[in-house]
């Protein structure tokens, strides 16, 4: 009896597949090839090549203009000059040293601010009383641009490492706080009913329902917090420091070494992008189960 049903289902599946197949089969070979080319175009050229067209063109024109002597190197050094400055800094070991200092600062500030954001976000997300007590204050502080309080932080903590970490920390706290809160509040109420029916303990509810369901929000918060930490780092180091990529830029500015300013900017951009990509890989690793529009 049941085997009969399985057979019917299999047939139905077969029919569906056959229908899909007949749809493509009616296309001519020519159309098929065009379709394949367009698939290749979409996946490879669109994904990578198309995005590179404008930057490559800009760099080419820029280099030409520099070599022809149309632009003064103090105003805008040519790409190859910047590349040479980068190579020099890399070989002398200066670059690695300053980059290490910068990553250390951003990482420390992000870690402290992120953990605080995660904890407070979880607290206000899980307990309504905590949300009533804490959330209004957090929301007020959130609307103060954290870079505006940088002078105050320097006044309190001086020009040392602490004030830099505090500036980065105060920025990276909020994205993680808000997205953890929203992630927890966004958990489907219907699944809470399932947890009740399955007799989950409060701890099981947290571990098996709330945490996985809020993970997309938490990971988004992590990514945004990291980005804000990176921006905070630039500000903290430009305000005053003796090392770090921001210091490199500041020092080069005073010496009118524009090429090194560009090197610093490029380092900030590239490392920031690498960190962001890393977080996206982590997202994909943990959120493969998601069934949402992928574009």
């Amino acid at each position: 009896m049941s085997e009969g049903i399985e057979a019917i289902i299999k047939t139905a599946k077969g029919v569906r597949e056959a229908r899909d197949y007949s749809g493509t089969a009616s296309l001519t070979t020519h159309n098929n090839r065009r379709r394949l080319t367009s698939v290749f175009w979409k996946s490879h050229v669109y994904g990578w090549g198309a995005g590179a067209v404008i930057p490559v063109a800009v760099i080419a024109v820029w280099q030409l203009a520099g070599s022809a002597g149309w632009i003064s190197p103090e105003f805008l050094p040519a790409p190859l000059t910047i590349l040479a400055a980068l190579a020099e800094l890399a070989v002398s070991g200066e670059l690695i040293h300053h980059l290490g200092v910068s990553i250390g600062r951003a990482g420390t500030g992000f870690l402290i601010g992120g953990i605080l954001g995660l904890l407070l976000g979880a607290l206000t997300g899980l307990f309504r009383s905590a949300a009533y007590l804490l959330d209004p204050s957090v929301q007020i502080l959130r609307l103060v641009p954290h870079l505006a309080i940088a002078p105050l932080i320097i006044l309190w903590f001086g020009f040392g490492e602490i004030s830099k970490v505090v500036i980065i920390m105060s920025g990276s706290f909020f994205p993680l706080y808000i997205n953890t809160f929203l992630g927890i509040r966004g958990v489907d109420n219907k699944l809470f009913e399932v947890a009740r029916v399955l007799g989950f303990s409060p701890l099981q509810k947290l571990r098996r329902l709330i945490l996985p369901a809020a993970l997309p929000g938490i990971l988004l918060g992590l990514r945004l917090s990291m980005a804000v930490a990176w921006i905070g780092l630039v500000v903290a180091e430009l305000i005053g420091s003796q090392s770090g990529v921001g210091f490199l830029i500041n020092e080069a500015k005073q010496n009118s070494n524009t090429a090194v300013v560009f090197v610093g900017i490029i380092i900030f951009a590239v490392v920031g992008k690498l960190i962001d990509s890393l977080f996206r890989v982590i997202e994909r690793r943990f959120l493969y189960w998601r069934d949402s529009y992928q574009g």
């Binding site: 049941s2 009913e193 399932v194 029916v197 007799g199 069934d291």
Partner: protein, 258 residues
């Protein structure tokens, strides 16, 4: 005949709404024996879901008594399996992990029971699939397996096949009867499809709306497996249908959902 497995006496439930109090259930009396397959049918708003949720311990604030094996329903728990209209699986867990949920799949006895249940609900080969990869009928079968793993004393099903197409629904009905035949789990199945109620139940409880009240309990003494085309099935179907005065309120089309 011993004491009933589930006993509902003088059950009354009111809801407070913006327009005042609404009597959702009035003087409901029902005794369910172990191993029975009860179907509850009625138009929307008759309180059939409320009745099921009270038995599950999900809804409280009623008067009267509801007892399972002589003990009052305290709250939700694994002795009362519940199947919702939607599958409500955890989207981040595979089929087998959804069935196990909070129970460790690593334990040999649980692993074995999960494998048996996957066999029972005919999902072999889909153990490691995610809910988004399943059809509605398959997902609902996972939900049934998840409830059965906890060996519930009673399985409560709230229009579980309401969102499925007629073909899948018919298939799911046979799968469910097969499970019932093998496990003898007591079933209380809420639906508003008369065919489904008569096809599945050995008793059909007919509820009337506003206030939700039992109008009639019709025993269906047809042997399983039943055939919807036989004269005796059609006669019982008409008998059930006749208990509805306001026929307009009910969709009479074959396989009509919701």
């Amino acid at each position: 005949m011993g004491e009933a497995l589930l006993s509902i006496r003088q059950l009354n439930k009111r809801f407070d709404t913006a327009g005042g109090q609404v009597q959702a259930l009035e003087d409901v009396e029902l005794e369910v024996e172990e191993g029975e397959f009860i179907t509850v049918i009625g138009p929307s708003g008759c309180g059939k879901s409320t009745l099921l949720r009270i038995i599950a311990g999900l809804d409280t604030g009623y008067t009267g008594s509801v007892t399972l094996e002589g003990k009052a329903i305290g709250g939700p728990g694994i002795d009362k399996g519940f199947i919702f209209q939607e599958h409500r699986l955890f989207p981040w867990l595979t089929v087998e992990k959804n069935i196990a949920s909070d129970l460790p799949l690593g334990r040999p006895d649980i692993r074995q029971r999960v494998d048996e249940l996957i066999e029972l609900v005919k999902l072999g080969g889909f153990e490691t699939a995610y809910p988004r990869e399943l059809s509605g009928g398959m997902a609902q079968r996972v939900a049934i397996a998840r409830a059965l793993l906890r060996s519930p004393k009673v399985l409560l099903l709230d229009e579980p096949f309401g969102a499925l197409d007629a073909f899948t629904r018919a298939h799911m009905q046979t799968v469910l009867l097969d499970i019932w035949r093998r496990n003898r789990t007591t079933m209380i199945f809420v639906t508003h499809d008369i065919d489904e109620a008569v096809f599945l139940g050995n008793r059909v409880v007919i509820l009337e709306p506003r206030p939700g009240k039992i109008r009639k309990i019709v025993p269906i003494d047809l042997p399983y497996p039943r055939k919807k085309t036989t004269t005796s099935f059609q006669e019982l179907r008409l008998k059930v249908l006749n208990y509805f005065e306001k026929v307009d309120e009910l969709e009479l089309k074959d396989g009509a959902g919701i």
